[in-house]
Symmetry: C2
Subunit: 222 residues, 2 copies
DNA sequence: GCGGTTCTTGTGACAATGTCACAGACAGGT
DNA sequence: ACCTGTCTGTGACATTGTCACAAGAACCGC
């Protein structure tokens, strides 16, 4: 599916390119496949290409010295991973990394092609700037959450966000803690408290929501 | 100083523009002066221009519903404030705002001139992308700090960062708390503890460092 | 099955941080 | 001096983070 030029239909932001630009993109872009859990960029791994995701998701997370982590945001199909070009281009050492959360089909755009596209296409520029804006607002939201929001509310929100079609979550407490940037014990305690209230039931690697409405009411609380 | 075209010498990132590009910039850029404490952008204040700071600083901060705040980063002379164009261009409601921390001399670049410059100048593109990268890494560092670092260490670091030539800080505890995204009482307690150890002396609106070396040792601690 | 191993979860004790309610201290104006 | 608003100090308590450790559950080889 990625070796012809149909892949670009996955990118709503790139629909209105002029034929010449479209052509350039088709000629220079390199399809690639990344395996689940591959580290796409990270401390000491400079990236040379802009990444466009055709399928799958990439998780961007921050590591701390003490071993704790927090998920900053996810890049989904149809979006570009601007960090690979911009953030890693020059700046000081920081410890964010990007990991393929599933198998990923992606398009690599080399640096000079990227630059050419920025020069010739207003649509491409809009596409890139939207990506940047989205990432920055994502980071703002993360900061707001960790700096100002109560942990029980954040746990409740994650439960609702991550539940599947059967109101269940196949995650460990440790994985929840990583999402929230806190310690596993904190998550365990909150979940246990929710279980005590009858809002959910816990088993190994599985959380089943029994009263999503109640959880939702907590998640709404200021 | 801003009504001729000498202002551009303040911007190291814009030194190597070609004459034609330089000319465009000189013709279209609009000098402006912003008073101290002016709100440059914020919730419900869309901005239409890219801002280049000739002098002064702009503080970008996040507000919470509960009234607490945190400083995200500062824009200094010679830098561009990318949020004014990109972040506010479309996205959902968030509550960051930019405030002139001093009187500010700035250059406004209208949206279409900005776009033109992005199209024609590789140097200008590099300038803009560096600005974006810097902001994103700034935000990463803020997240790392508030999520993973101990408060006593963060207070110690701020003391060293903000001290003047006489090892003193003319700030209130409330202002320190805003920098750190915490409550005033927490800062007061930490400072009192430092005073007890003989590291500094406290008086109303003034902190005088007595043993910066000791404070530095704490600031270094993992 | 059985023992060994690893991953996951539970828990208590304690430290660090955040919240709330006040009181007192200080500076400036009148 | 008095009033007023701002700034600082403090105790009590709630929430969150850290540490140490134990118990359960899944998995594997045998």
């Amino acid at each position: 599916m990625l070796n012809d030029h149909t892949w670009r239909f996955s990118f709503p932001g790139l629909e209105n390119l002029s034929p010449a630009v479209s052509d350039l993109l088709n000629k220079q872009a390199v399809p690639a496949v990344l395996k689940k859990d591959a580290v796409i960029f990270g401390p000491g791994k400079p990236a040379e290409n802009l990444l466009l995701l055709g399928s799958g998701t990439v998780r961007v997370q921050q590591l701390s010295e003490s071993g704790r982590e927090i998920v900053l945001y996810r890049v989904h199909a149809g979006e570009s991973c601007v960090l690979t070009t911009a953030c890693l281009l020059a700046f000081e050492d920081y410890s964010a990394e990007g990991v393929a959360e599933t198998n990923v089909e992606a398009i690599l755009i080399p640096r000079d092609t990227f630059d050419k596209l920025m020069a010739v296409s207003i649509e491409f520029r809009a596409f890139v700037f939207e990506a940047y804006s989205k990432r920055i607002t994502d980071l703002f939201m993360v900061i707001e959450e960790i700096a100002f929001k109560r942990m029980d509310i954040r746990v409740a929100q994650k439960l609702l966000d991550f539940q599947d079609a059967h109101k269940a979550l196949h995650v460990t407490h440790q994985q929840m803690a990583l999402e929230l940037g806190t310690a596993r014990e904190v998550v365990s305690r909150q979940l246990k408290e929710f279980e005590r209230r009858g809002w959910l039931t816990l088993s190994r690697g599985l959380i089943e929501l029994r009263d999503p409405a109640a959880i939702g009411r907590l998640a709404q609380a200021s």
